[in-house]
């Protein structure tokens, strides 16, 4: 196989979050428009100079990225629409980086956002995919809770994870979220509260579930020279991976595509898991965090429960993790949930994370996971990022 080229000369910058709302009367276009406006404002780049756009959204229909461009009065020479849910952020980053490197665009705005009307979640879930419509939704219409309950049930049975293990992660994330002004969850969470919460879909209980909400996230990808000229704090991309429909013959999901590409990820970056200063995973359910710890090389398969027992996952802990609070405590704003970890990592590596800042963070790992099309999440991605030098 040909060796992959580096991402030299490319910078990611201007992480921005449009503050989330539980429900919104606005359309997805409003949320995406606000994200784009913020990127322009924060970067000082003229609207017309943004010549590439990458969009992710579940609730933009009937529009796609194309319709959104007319809506927002943009004329980009490079446009992408990434319908990969929780993997959208990492995939947008790597697509945009290559486009900038190749000169197809100079400044690319990557935006993801969704609205949340009172009935939109049921609507999204019932029509999520053809396989979901044919073979999942008619079975109790539990939505992702039910699908992840099955994976969680299997994982607990197979590897001995306990609710206390999942709870420890959720409690740590809540601690982190209390430092995040954008988090929808504002109250502390104790392990006792976690364990006493009402069952939703056994073994999933209330605090294992993300809260659907409206919101948007965005960042810019451009050449390093451009970022330097604009005096924008920036982040270097050391390596990235993506994989879709990995291990289709596994009878139930106990690993994701990261396991296929992990070696390539670290090798390309010339880094190892020990070099990583903080980790932002896709945390739609705590069991998926455990899969990522294993599949991204922080511990062996089946050892995530022990790994969780050994570490402290708060911002100042031994394994700073989901430092924004993650979706479990910030909220899941549709496709923006797939950007949450990446945008937070860009904050950490550009020193704008405020109270959430991980001390001396130099290398961050972001991973994404998306699209439970039938019985398992199909898209996985990860990126190793490094603080840019002046």
């Amino acid at each position: 196989m040909r060796s992959r080229q580096s991402y030299d000369g490319v910078a990611a910058a201007v992480p921005f979050t449009v503050p989330y709302a539980r429900y919104s009367t606005h359309a997805a276009h409003w949320w995406l428009g606000r994200a784009l406006a913020a990127l322009i404002r924060e970067s000082g780049i003229a609207k017309a100079d943004i010549d590439g756009v990458c969009v992710s959204s579940f609730t933009l229909g009937p529009d796609t990225a194309v319709g959104l461009m007319q809506h927002l009065g943009m004329s980009p020479r490079w446009l992408d629409h990434i319908p990969m849910g929780g993997a959208s952020g990492v995939v947008a980053l790597r697509r945009a980086a290559r486009a900038v490197q190749a000169g197809d665009a100079e400044v690319i705005a990557c935006i993801a956002g969704d609205t949340n009307h009172v009935d939109s979640f049921r609507h999204t879930v019932s029509q999520f995919s053809r396989f979901a419509q044919d073979a999942v939704y008619p079975y109790g219409a539990g939505g992702p809770n039910a699908s992840f309950a099955l994976l969680t049930d299997h994982y607990m049975r197979q590897y001995g994870a306990t609710r206390e293990d999942f709870g420890k992660l959720c409690v740590a994330q809540r601690d982190n979220a209390l430092r995040n002004p954008h988090a929808l969850m504002k109250k502390p969470l104790t392990l006792a509260q976690y364990l006493d919460a009402r069952p939703i879909t056994d073994p999933i209980h209330l605090f294992d579930c993300v809260m659907p909400c409206a919101g948007a996230e965005g960042f810019l990808v451009m050449t390093e020279e451009r970022a330097r000229a604009l005096k924008l704090p920036r982040v270097r991309i050391r390596s990235t991976i993506e994989r879709h429909n990995a291990y289709p013959d596994d009878p139930i999901q106990f690993r994701g595509g990261w396991a296929m590409d992990r070696d390539a990820l670290y090798e390309h970056a010339g880094l190892s898991p020990a070099d990583v200063d903080f980790v932002e995973t896709y945390d739609d359910y705590p069991v998926i965090n455990m899969l990522q710890f294993e599949d991204l090389g922080f511990c062996a398969k089946g050892e995530a429960p022990a790994f969780v027992r050994e570490h402290d996952f708060t911002i100042d802990g031994s394994f700073p993790f989901n430092t924004s609070g993650g979706q479990l405590s910030v909220g899941q704003a549709g496709a923006a949930g797939g950007y949450l970890g990446l945008v937070q990592a860009l904050r950490q590596l550009t020193n704008v994370a405020g109270a959430m800042q991980v001390a001396d963070a130099r290398i961050g790992l972001v991973s994404g996971f998306g699209m439970i099309n039938y019985d398992r999440g199909l898209c996985s991605g990860a990126a190793l990022l490094e603080r840019g030098t002046a």
Binding site: D134, A135, Y139, G140, A141, L150, P199
Partner: protein
């Protein structure tokens, strides 16, 4: 172990009658291949004609070799239950009314992993049998059942959503004086029906045998019913319409005679009056009330059964007028199925071969004992199928029709 469903309590007359809700019904066209199998109680999955891969959910091409030559094939229904969950929350109104609800992942011996409804008697991480059942939307769904039958397993709340068991239900048999009608009544009583109304189309005609039959079980209630008389049908519906949970239309008018060589259309008109217009009169009089009562308590209105004939599908020229009436009745029954769909009431069409009664005197064997047809109907209700082919003649004709309809036309005409 499943508890036997208790006899329903007397209804509180001032309580609001709960309206029917239905499980999610949207399916891709490929997925409707499951409905074809479930409608007859078969277990089939999509399989590739080229590489043999069995796949689920159904696709447009083979997920293994990309061939477009996909068949539906009976496959082994065994598997291992590798994960389960009990839903205590649902996004859908139908399931919200029925929580908690157990589902699971089954790794099939035939290959795929499937998400299925899981019977309460299935052991965690144990062996299961999968069955394709029609849900209240009439769509096929997979149910994981215990590897071996367990006591009262058909009474589990999940399975009760798929079938139309006559136990503790009140049934109207529209013609109870015919040989088949009487066998039907007997089978229903044996199956635990709480009341069987038996239609008497000829109350003026004394029949000591019929009277003795009526007196033989206190659950039998004879009622006057002439399906060719709209007033008669309406009167009966006004009287017992709100008590009928299953209607079995056994009324028939079987006479020999073709089309061209009949002197007039008198015979055909009589056959149509009973077999087609009779069905329509019954539907208009009883249908709306049944729809309203589809979610009435634990034993609401649940099924409408049409005793048709395999000759609804393949005309028997020696009985051409009658065959035409059965074909027309089938067509009307399909409309009725669509109309009952919104309430979740199952329309079961029964296609028997010749039945051993006085009207088939000259028909050579094999002929079906009326009790065998009745037993098949009860079994069909318990299994929740919607198309029921009864007996060797019916099964064989169906297979031949699938194989070469033109051959059937020529052979039946010969």
């Amino acid at each position: 172990m499943t508890d036997a469903t208790p006899k329903p309590k007397r209804k509180n007359p001032v309580a609001r009658t709960r309206l029917p809700t239905l499980p999610p019904a949207s399916r891709s066209r490929a997925a409707l291949g499951l409905a074809r199998a479930a409608a007859e109680g078969r277990f089939e999955m999509q399989a590739c004609a080229d590489c043999g891969a069995v796949q689920y959910p159904p696709r447009e091409v083979c997920g293994s070799c990309l061939s477009e030559r996909l068949d539906w094939r009976e496959v082994a229904n065994g598997g291992a239950l590798i994960a389960t969950t009990t839903l205590r929350h649902s996004n859908d109104p139908y399931f919200r009314e029925r929580l908690p609800w157990r589902v699971g992942t089954v790794k099939m011996d035939a290959g795929p992993s499937v998400v299925a409804h899981v019977h309460e008697d299935c052991h965690e991480a144990g062996r299961v049998r999968l069955a394709l059942k029609l849900d209240r939307s009439g769509q096929a769904v997979l149910h994981a059942l215990p590897a071996e039958d367990t006591p009262n397993m058909n009474d589990s709340p999940q399975l009760r959503e798929t079938h139309c068991d006559p136990k503790h239900r009140r049934v109207l048999v529209t013609d109870g004086r015919s040989t088949l009608g009487r066998a039907m009544v007997k089978a229903l009583l044996d199956a635990g029906a709480s009341t069987v109304f038996i239609g008497d189309p000829a109350t003026w005609k004394a029949d000591a045998g019929f009277d003795a039959f009526v007196a033989s079980d206190p659950r039998i209630e004879p009622v006057a019913l002439d399906v060719t008389d709209t007033d008669s049908v309406d009167r009966l519906a006004a009287s017992i319409g709100a008590k009928v949970e299953i209607l079995i239309n056994t009324a028939d008018h079987l006479r020999d005679g073709g089309v061209m060589n009949a002197r007039d259309v008198g015979l055909a008109r009589d056959a149509f009056d009973v077999n087609v217009l009779g069905l329509m009169r019954l539907a208009q009089a009883f249908g709306p009330t049944m729809c309203f009562r589809a979610a009435d308590g634990t034993h609401g209105a649940v099924a409408w059964v049409n005793l048709l004939s395999i000759h609804a599908l393949a005309a028997l020229p020696a009985r051409g007028a009658w065959s035409a009436s059965k074909a027309a009745a089938l067509s009307a029954a399909l409309t009725l199925r669509a109309e009952f769909g919104g309430a979740g009431i199952r329309v079961m069409n029964v296609f028997p071969g010749p039945i051993d009664d006085e009207w088939e005197q000259l028909t050579p064997p094999p002929k079906l004992a009326p009790s065998a047809v009745a037993a098949a109907v009860v079994r069909g209700l318990r299994d929740g199928v919607e198309d029921l082919y009864v007996g060797d003649v019916a099964e064989e004709l169906r297979a031949r029709l699938r194989d070469n309809q033109k051959a059937v036309e020529r052979e039946l005409g010969g």
